[in-house]
Amino acid sequence: MKYKDYYAALGVERSATADQIKAAYRKLARKYHPDVSKEKNAEERFKEVAEAYETLKDPEKRAAYDQLGRHAPGEEIRPPPDWGQSFGDGQFSFDDVDLADLFANLTGRAGGGRRARNMPHPGQDFEAAVRLTFDQAFTGTEIEFDMTVTEPDASGTLRRSPRKIKVRIPKGVTDGQKLRVPGKGGKGVNGGPDGDLYLDIEVAEHPLYRVVGNDLYIDLPLAPWEAVLGTSVQLPTPAGAVSLKVAPGTRAGQQLRLSGRGMARGSSAGHLFALVRIEVPTVVDDAHKDLYRKLAETSNFDPRAHLAKETAR
């Protein structure tokens, strides 16, 4: 079993009072709680903090933890021999136990909180983060990953074990979405229902498409003459290139909508918006400069007509 320094996780002295421990926990929870924090690694950091507080806030567990003595974080430790008797049959091995589970087991013993042996109770819910590419999210995909779950064994003691999870992700999932996979959590005990699996979906950004809900945005750069005269362009979409007609007199900032070309939404789909930008050549040879000059001399187009009145004052 590997040692973890719970006092260091909360940033308090080993001699800290219960109030100091609580205050330290609250400060860190405010900063790192994954539901309210935008900090990097908030979730991971909060887990450490919560695990430490779970043990240190309870005088009995804190005393048991202190009994382990001081060690370097990650150092292999063996708890006092009499601890084995706390776990039912006394035949307990600490080798594959996590410190957090050990203290969670202690609660069951001390508080009588563990459920009656023969009562049916539901399996635990598991939660996992799933990172997808844009294309996987767009088309849907089947993923397989390994996770470590903490489940009670036959004797009711919490144990960590590896689990292979295979899930079908429907098309059209978006970054930040949560999916529930019923019955894919821990096994129910004594006929209780199986737990559920909750997936936190992360979708990587795409270099071309920007996702807003179920809609997609892509930049469509046009040359000035294309915008004035109109044109037809080949535009990439996640489902394949399409030919897009650009009407004469198209202005910068206009959004050309390609209906149903966005992310799937149930049986329909969001839209793809092509956002018009007008790009100008920065290097222009003399022949082209002459063409622009001719245009400037002959055109009566005034893009600042609405400002003229103000500047004339």
Binding site: A29, V36, K178, R180, D196, G213, D219, F273
Partner: protein
């Protein structure tokens, strides 16, 4: 009343959950959950029905409520206020994402 988020999390297989499932999945007590319904933080399909059922997306809200309650040591009213702020932040972030996407 808390408005449902703009883009509700969808669930791939079940569209409706029972009161019992809400209790089991959230780990909150029945009275805590009932309080959250009373404050408008959770919205049953038909609030006047004898037994409440929910669209599955409320499961995620109930689970979040449970985490906030436990980790911040809040009562259900405090949880409902925090949830409404988190909802507003989410809506604002969605709006910001949209504006940024339109800017290019």
């Amino acid at each position: 009343m808390i408005a449902p988020t703009q883009d509700p999390p969808r669930v791939d297989t079940i569209a409706e959950v029972t009161w019992t499932q809400m209790v089991t999945a959230s780990g909150l007590t029945e009275s805590e959950l009932a309080e959250l319904v009373q404050y408008g933080a959770l919205e049953p399909r038909d609030p006047r029905a004898a037994t409440w059922t929910f669209e599955a997306r409320w499961l995620f809200v109930a689970r979040k409520a449970s985490r906030l309650r436990r980790d911040f040591d809040l009562d259900p009213h405090g949880v409902s206020v925090l949830l409404s702020y988190l909802d507003r932040i989410e809506a604002l972030e969605a709006e910001l994402r949209k504006l940024r996407a339109q800017l290019g």
